[in-house]
Amino acid sequence: GRLLCGPGLRRSGTGLLVTKCGLLRHRQAGGAAPASGAYWVDSQQKRYVPVKGDHVIGIVTAKAGDVFKLDVGGSEQASLSYLAFEGATKRNRPNVQVGDLVYGQFLVANKDMEPEMVCIDSHGRSSGMGIIGQDGFLFKVSLGLIRKLLAPKCEIIQELSQLYPFELVLGMNGRIWVKAKTVQQTLIIVNILEACEYMTAEQRRQVLAKFSGN
């Protein structure tokens, strides 16, 4: 079968090299032959390196003519064209100001070029991307926590959603945007998400039980 080398592994000649420290993981591909599926290394880091296809939250730092410059937490600022929004034309420009938050994906991201972002998918639809609304709170966490939260049926998000209703945007660059009904609720959710890095599931449930009791 086909073998997939994921992040942290690099092919060199006939063998494999490990490029990051961490735990080696394996996922079987639908019960096929043993030499198939995917291998990757689960590593912990806070610094983000732009990768093509990743959905990230960027902060608009400059407007240069037809292109916005976004800070995505990488070594370079990403560029975003004003036409890369759903329904944007030369006459109908999106209302983007400096300091706004934008959720988009990388079209181009390699070590030789400046990263480029877009807020539409390959069909021309926005599919959840675009300018993130007013208010809310943006904060940074490690990349490992983001991957945990993005896993299907994440317990943390399910348990939190039973506490208060809130809006949540997760960027693969370690940035999370939260908005709840009141400032206090927003800050509670922010603190719980930050603490989830080091809490066990049991501790988390205790904390949430305290809040839902109040």
């Binding site: 073998l3 080398c5 992040p7 092919r11 494999l16 080696l24 030499a35 291998y39 093509k52 390699n110």
Partner: protein, 289 residues
């Protein structure tokens, strides 16, 4: 001839106020550094290696430390040593560098805040107090390090990392059972293939070119990725597992040798290179990245 010194600062992690932390790190590194001893006699200059003579410290005249102040609401609120969140929302910052003799070395104000004279004086008084504390801490740490090095104890970055924290990596040492190692070894040797024939006589083709033996097939074979990963994963287990694994790999190799020649295309997901298609005559095009 003069000495040249270079200081590199690597920021590993921060929660705001990098200026203060970097200033402390920089000056302490310079205080801690030792340079080779030099003897000058007239025109002759002798530089002693660290083995010949103990290296000497640099001549540090004073220890300036930066203290940052964050201002909020047009100077109404003042915060010393702001954290990351506080830095994001502050109006402006005032940085004062001072040494323990209360001499101001640097004042820098950024962010466009208008400061009144007595605000600046108040800040410098706070700085004096903070710098006195920090300088004492630095002196104690340097003395401690010197003492430990003299006594032969453990010192350095690894020792100063606290390992009672949840964020510290720790590996517990596990005992390995070596009781039946010899039996395992005997078993493997007994079941292994006999060593290949040794050709002692070289065949001389032409002067300068000789050949020993016919050349045997590569008995290591081409390890498939899955076998290599198994070997990696089972390193932590007891000794019995790798022993049987080696045997398994040997028998598998001979059967999979033919398979690996065709080599399944291995797909990398994090490479940014364009797909390269290599066309080889009389073979199907193989995609390699």
């Amino acid at each position: 001839q003069v000495w040249q010194i270079r200081l590199d600062l690597h920021l590993l992690n921060h929660d705001g106020n990098i200026t203060d932390a970097a200033s402390i790190a920089g000056i302490v590194a310079l205080c801690h550094f030792r340079r080779p001893d030099v003897a000058v006699q007239g025109e002759e200059v002798t530089v002693y290696t660290p083995e010949e003579r103990d290296p000497v410290p640099l001549s540090i005249h004073h220890i300036p430390i930066c203290v940052s102040f964050a201002f909020f609401q047009q100077g109404t609120y003042l915060l010393v040593d702001p954290s990351e969140r506080e830095e994001c929302v502050m109006d402006g910052v005032l940085v004062i560098a001072m040494n323990k003799h209360q001499e101001i070395c640097t004042i820098q104000s950024s962010g466009g805040i208008m400061l009144v004279k007595d605000q600046v004086l108040r800040c410098s008084k706070i700085t004096a107090v903070k710098v006195a504390e920090i300088t004492e801490l630095i002196q104690k740490a340097l003395e401690n390090d010197q003492k430990v090095r003299k006594e032969g104890g453990k010192f350095g970055f690894a020792e100063s990392i606290p390992n009672q924290k949840i964020t510290a990596f720790k590996m517990e040492s596990a005992a390995v059972d070596t009781s039946n190692v010899e039996e395992q070894a005997e078993e493997i040797i007994a079941k292994a293939d006999p060593p290949s024939e040794v050709f002692a006589k070289p065949i001389l083709h032409t002067p300068g070119t000789a050949q020993i033996g016919e050349g045997i097939e590569n008995s290591w074979g081409e390890l498939e990725e899955s076998e290599k990963e198994e070997a990696v994963e089972e390193e932590g287990e007891s000794e019995e597992a790798p022993a049987s694994d080696c045997q398994k790999m040997e028998t598998e190799e001979t059967s999979t040798m033919k398979e690996t020649n065709k080599d399944e295309p291995i797909v990398l997901s994090d490479s940014e290179e364009e797909e390269v298609v290599i066309l080889e005559p009389q073979e199907l095009p193989r995609r390699t990245r």
